[in-house]
Amino acid sequence: MGFLSADNQNEIKHLFEGLAGEVQLIYFTQKESPLFIPGHECETCKDTRTLLEEIAGLSDKIKLEVHDFVAETEAAREHGIDRILGFVMTAEGVKGKVRYFVMPCGYEFAVLVGSLLDVSLGKTDLSESSVETLRTLDKDLHIQVFVTPT
């Protein structure tokens, strides 16, 4: 069973008409196993994959790649994913890294949709002065925003 109702899908499809270019969602998960291995559980990995598949199905400009976090360590390292669930959102024109370590539901779903649109455009709604200031930064910055499901 999916997460998005028909109404939701129609509304999101309409929003995705604003996608300028192709966006890649690179998702890392674990192989589904009947065995419970303490310390290796990922309660929302499966649901997140389902949700991302639904989102990707709403626009041919959203390309979803699914990787096995354990078997594809090189890919995980390349994308800076050191834990699951985790996914990277990228597109041509995106300069830094945008990563999600969250199942995007509730408020985070709206954030995800907004990010998909920004990433596809390769630009943000930030003011020109903010963008100018950001351009001058030459030190690596790691911004971590901690959230809870809403």
Binding site: C42, E43, T44, G80, R83, L85, G93, V94, K95, G96, K97, V98, R99, Y100, F101, V102, M103, E108, V111, D118, V119, G122, K123, T124, L126, S127, S130, V131, T133, L134, R135, L137, D138, K139, D140, L141, H142, I143, Q144, V145, F146, V147, T148, P149
Partner: protein, 67 residues
């Protein structure tokens, strides 16, 4: 911000999925933002204030602050 600058990595992290991070960064309220382990603040802030935090984290000293 990560879209605009190659030096920026932006992560959204679900606290309940990663309790060790919640403990490490003493998450008692959300959203909590941590920049380069040196600047942190709780709550949504205006763009101008967010940028000020970024600039503080990017300064040579990367001064510590908590609001």
């Amino acid at each position: 911000m990560a879209i605009e600058n190659e030096h920026v990595t932006a992560d959204v992290i679900e606290v309940n999925e990663f309790p060790h991070l919640a403990q490490r960064y003493a998450i008692r309220g959300v959203p909590k933002t941590v920049i380069n382990e040196s600047v942190e603040f709780v709550g949504s802030v205006p763009e101008r204030d967010f940028l000020a935090h970024i600039q503080r984290a990017a300064s040579p000293s990367g001064s510590s602050s908590e609001l």
